[in-house]
């Protein structure tokens, strides 16, 4: 009987991950509100804050302000893709009960989550490349090829703790409150970390708080890549690693709470 051939068998996980990621990417691409804001906002910010200063250099270094701000908004682009798009995406998917049917299929939850993360990273990469292209063409930013590659890798790998933050918000907040909660946490955090205005220009109180924020250290590794003066990279990496542990612990806790609520 043909029904018996499937006994003690299951589908290959790499293929599941590939298909699931493909589905997420197609879905994101079909929602312009998602794909366009991810790509256009960092370019817009760079145009507003950066274009008028592109030829000045940063005090005490040879790095141009244009390159420095490109690093800032690059960090903003990737971190907002993780916290906003990924976090709010998780909250909305929960509200649409996507996870309910999925949970009854052989698709492991880890594969489903990995696909969403890969999708967010892919859009983050696209928005980075768009920002870089704009900075080169409109802002006259010039960096050696190795630096471009280094900056891109640092921004993608350094975003790991922020994936944890997006996930924590996504599993804790409802679909209506998620955007508000995200704005409330993420926007002040980005400002205080110097992603919009250089830290040196921020009030002393904020400068005292900044080193306790994950986005501060995230910004530091980006600026370091283009040669701007920063804290030591050992310090930045250690802080980001610590934040990774904290934020993922929170994310896993909220994920479990959500699952218990639905499936206990």
């Amino acid at each position: 009987m043909s029904a018996v051939h499937a006994a003690f068998d299951s589908a290959p996980l790499p293929r599941m991950l590939w298909k699931q990621t493909q589905a997420q990417v197609v879905n994101s691409a079909r929602i312009p509100a998602f794909s366009l804001t991810t790509i256009l906002l960092p370019i817009m910010f760079f145009a507003f804050f950066g274009l008028s200063h592109t030829h000045e250099t940063l005090a005490g270094s040879r790095v141009s302000i244009g390159a420095y701000l490109m690093g800032s908004f690059g960090a903003y682009a990737v971190s907002s893709a993780m916290v906003f798009n990924f976090g709010i995406g998780v909250a909305v998917a929960r509200a649409q009960k996507l996870d309910l049917l999925q949970r009854a299929t052989p698709l492991p939850a880890s594969i489903a989550i990995a696909a969403t993360v890969i999708n967010a990273l892919l859009f983050a990469l696209i928005s980075l490349l768009a920002l870089f292209a704009f900075a080169i063409l409109a802002g006259g930013v010039h960096l050696p090829l190795a630096t471009w590659v280094d900056l891109t890798l640092r921004l993608l790998v350094g975003a790991i703790p922020l994936i944890g933050m997006g996930m924590a918000i996504g599993y804790a907040a409802g679909p209506n409150s998620a955007p508000a909660v995200t704005n409330l946490i993420y926007l002040p955090m980005s400002f205080a970390s110097g992603l919009f205005v250089p830290i040196a220009e921020l009030p002393q109180v904020v400068r005292n708080i900044a080193p306790y924020l994950p986005t501060y250290h995230y910004g530091q590794i980006a600026w370091n890549a283009i040669g701007a003066p920063t804290e030591s990279m050992e310090e930045a990496v250690l802080a980001l690693a610590l934040w990774t542990v904290i934020l993922f612990a929170l994310a896993i806790r909220f994920f479990r709470l959500d699952q218990t609520r639905k499936f206990a």
């Binding site: 029904a3 499937a6 006994a7 003690f8 299951s10 589905a23 299929t105 052989p106």
Partner: protein
Amino acid sequence: MVRVIAVQLDDVRKRLGTVEAVRGVDLTIEAGQVVAMLGPNGAGKTTCISLMLGLRKPTSGQVSLFGMPPSDRRARSRCGVMLQESGVIPSLKVKELVDLFRSYYPHPMKAARAIDLAGLAEQAEVQSSKLSGGQRQRLYFALAVCGDPEIIFLDEPTVGMDVEARRAFLSGIHEFAAAGRTIMLTTHYLAEADELAERIVVMNRGLVIADASPREIKSRVAGKKVRFASPRPLSEVDLDGLDVKSFEHDGRYYSFLSNAPEPVLQRIFQLGLEMTDLEVAGADLEEAFVSLTSQHEESVA
């Protein structure tokens, strides 16, 4: 042929908050059976399905799917599911979703066949968020069968379907069952259970109160509800020996359920009661179950 046990529940209980939704259910479903679980809202049908699928864990008792814990990926790879409350990635097209769900299973059927079984060939290129309610249900059916599973679980599958959608859907189920597959569906329509299943499991208040062929269930469920007013008192004893269930009276109004209301009415006329406001109507399922439940409680007592 070796009999394969698809689903087994042993003295399963499930408490949801303060309510005991399932109160000790034993059930064995053999591979190849088409079983309908029938019961009014709140009977515990959906909870039972969730337990069979491992979406919820029993408070006590054992649940197994093909001899494995239901959450085992190998067990899930043999099941297709259609839930009452679920969603899919909204901007994906029917064809894309079927293709995605096929990748979850080791030996899926061709996407076109799943779409045909669900009667969605014309909507294959439509985004899921743009489907009507009935088409959406049929999409969920396509997703349930596309892995070519040995068993499909369908929780209230025809809710929200119009006549045409329902017909297409039922023929899809028949076609799938004809391939020797196991089907477990829940419904609160006796007619639907009768039309589809070879076995009906009736649930009420968390218990299985009947488990038999559709023919037998139909003969045991009260078919008619009789209601009338009479100025003179009537006692249930007066109707002794006749098919009368759930005899009630409220002031001048009397009502009862029966599969043979004519001889009962004849007796009442012979008793010389003046009858007004006589109504004889088909009993709805809720009422029919009350009569089954009271029988069940009598037989337990």
